[in-house]
Symmetry: C2
Subunit: 451 residues, 2 copies
């Protein structure tokens, strides 16, 4: 399997050459017979627009559906927009409910209507039910392909019942026990069933202390739950305790990946679904917004400096040293910020421990402030042989590192409380704080001392 | 289950109060009867040192082992260091191989020796084998608790064989088929077995196109594999194709979480195992290193400014505006940097598509350069009513945004090629580039135009 990534690569190379040489027959053969749908999706995500469209055209119609499933939202939406309802319906024929729903949720309502109409009544009803749930809840994440049994039958009967199936749904690690009213009662793990006597009843061996997931539970809470309990699949129940579906680890892994990606990408003002190989104009527009926002903070910093033009005119050395104070504050602040954002994401920070964390970061900021203030002041004095400037930069550095620590620690929590995404807005606001405090304290102190 | 997080919280509150009021009996009761080992671990990770040590003392001896498993490396290492070999041996009695190995790998060799000696020969041999593999490979990640069967027996026999077990290993979704020489032949998914006729032989129904994971495959490749193939567990074979163990999704989820965390934390110079509530001194020391590194880059930027003191003396407005050019470069660069670091992590970027990406980012940088250069120049002229300064900042902005795009895109690849972690080193180097280019172009052009 180590050969896979290897194999993949070489195949990608071959594909590349084949594409350039225009031998599309060969490309199509490798695509549709050499690679799995996930590999094809990965290949498309790794290709520039031109190659991507070419490759997509060469993918077999009957593979398109599965490939779409593994593409990131951006790219999937793009290819979906090129299919009409008929094509969509045929492409998504043998999708699992949750996959089909994921896909439908990206489409305009009119198209959804068309697709639903092209399905038989039972399927349509199942889909419509799932569509009625929020995309980011258990309802939106779940599958309706549950294998359910009654508590009062014997294991032997269960085994015979299962044999009547042609196959069991993927990721079936347990059978779900329900009563006549479809109320969820418990879970019968296959591993338990296989070591139980054929004469035992389901009720005797089933596991009842598994709590079902409420249909409105959020994706992130579900992910935490799967991680904490090492689950492979879990039943989903509605408000009345009726079994409505199940969630499987493969979908949860995607949630974990996306949530983790979200923090990383947001902190650079990027979307976790950002398409690395998106067309230039699309990317340029998206980036422009972020740069514009940051330009405002840059101007605020400049305005602060502007207040002290006379002082700088007197002592140009200030202009040389002032970026040091600001940038050190930015670095120290972003460390606290990142730590807290991660802590909030994993549900580690909140309530009781915040006060402790704030005072800790304060002390850490002060300690590092003292350390680097002395280093910087010595360097500054040596550079401009002016003791005054050493004292000024030392004081400013200490002030800014403490401000940075406090801002970096409290900002994510304050933003979170206002339902603003800390990963997205935190960095911008933090730099504004550290720039303003940095320049203000440094140039302000200078104005006093050189007055 | 939505109540869990809720329930957790309130219990944490209760614990907090109980701790403060010093009613340890109550705390111990909640800890050992109200919470699961994962919840306890989470609680410890969410507690400041003092409370943490107190809580740890109150955890039942027979729970300690499992709790240790779910703690992050930093905190686990700390608690482990307080146990002697005897305690360790008893704590880890009924661990799975991979868990025990994870834990041993954090201990000094002398202690490992002692622990191994306190085990019976068979266990010791199993452990020593796994210990011989690299921690970050399939060998280090795998479990040896496989359920193996022969290809020539009937399903009926398999079922009877399984019933002789008291229980099957966790996450057993398939039985592993091996020949007399223990060579891996194929996989019999439980779901397949359960829908097959009892008279069919394993060979007839087993799945042989599953490739086993080579024992030396890296953690990250394994994670990609599990994600791409939606696996719950996978067999691990040694160089001779002999079955040596299996890897389960729960361990892979941890890898995915850690890898994703790594990029986020490293970009702020933090370790993904960073303990949010680590003691002040420990944190202060770690942060100091990062600040020191960044101080160097800050001084480099200052040195560049220093070259132009005379110019700044003549036109103080330059000192006011220069941070804008540098910071916009930093923002633009970090967007490209983050995108490429993510792209490398998910194996999206490499070989054929790099040239395309570079030229794309170049164009994106140029477009945004032109846009924001004009905005900034207008603002600058309006502010200082001096057309010259408008032209200078516009040109500098354009130059720096292009430089930022190229540096942000190429740096991760250059670092990766030298086996330097791009997430860790990328940001620092990038800021140096954008600061130097920003100040150099802005002040340089000014020196020429105001000469």
């Amino acid at each position: 399997m180590a050969q896979t990534s290897e194999g993949m690569k070489s195949q990608v190379e071959i594909l590349g050459e084949a594409l350039e040489s225009g031998s599309f027959k060969q490309v199509a053969r490798i695509l549709n017979h050499g690679l799995s749908p996930t590999d094809i999706a990965h290949l498309l995500e790794s290709s520039p627009p031109k190659e991507r469209n070419l490759l997509w055209k060469l993918v077999d119609k009957d593979l398109e559906g599965e490939v779409l499933l593994y593409l990131n939202d951006d790219i999937r939406a793009y290819f979906l927009s090129k299919l009409n309802a008929q094509e969509l319906a045929s492409v998504t024929e043998d999708f699992e409910t949750d996959d089909l729903v994921d896909l439908l949720q990206q489409l305009p309502d009119t198209v959804i209507e068309e697709v639903l109409h092209s399905m038989d009544a039972q399927d349509r009803q199942r889909i419509e039910e799932v569509l009625s749930y929020q995309e980011d809840t258990a309802g939106g994440l779940m599958n309706t392909d549950t294998v359910t049994i009654r508590p009062d039958i014997s294991i032997d009967v269960v085994l015979r019942y299962l044999r009547r199936h042609k196959s069991l749904p993927e990721m079936t690690d347990s059978l779900l026990v329900v009563n006549r009213k479809d109320d969820f009662i418990g879970v019968l793990p296959l591993t338990t069933m296989l070591v139980s006597s054929p004469n035992a009843t389901v009720r005797e061996v089933m596991n009842t202390d598994i709590e079902a997931i409420p249909v409105e539970m959020t994706r992130t809470d579900i992910a935490t739950l799967f991680e904490r309990r090492d689950l492979v699949s879990a039943p989903v129940v509605n408000q009345n305790g009726k079994l409505v579906g199940r969630i499987t680890i493969d979908d949860v892994v995607d949630v974990i990946r996306e949530d983790a990606d979200h923090s990383l990408m947001s902190m650079a003002g990027l979307d976790e679904d950002e398409d690395t190989f998106a067309p230039v104009m699309k990317t340029a527009k998206r980036r422009a917004v972020w740069l514009g926002i940051n330009l405002i903070t840059a101007f605020i910093a400049s305005a602060v400096i502007g207040l002290f033009e006379q002082t700088i005119e007197k002592v140009v050395a200030l202009a040389v040293l002032m970026p040091i104070v600001a940038s050190m504050g930015g670095i120290a602040g972003s460390q606290a910020l990142t730590l807290v954002i991660r802590g909030i994401a994993v549900g580690q920070i909140g309530g009781s421990n915040i006060r402790w964390l704030l005072s800790k970061e304060f002390v850490v900021g002060a300690l590092n402030g003292v350390l680097w203030a002395s280093v910087v002041s010595v360097a500054a004095i040596a550079w401009f042989n002016d003791p005054k400037i050493g004292i000024i930069i030392a004081a400013a550095m200490l002030i800014n590192l403490i401000a940075a620590a406090l801002a970096g620690t409290s900002l994510p929590l304050l933003l979170k409380a206002r339902n603003i995404d800390p990963a997205l807005a935190g960095g911008v606001i933090l730099t504004t704080v550290t720039d303003v405090v940095g320049f203000m304290s440094f140039l302000g102190l200078a104005t006093i001392m050189y007055a």
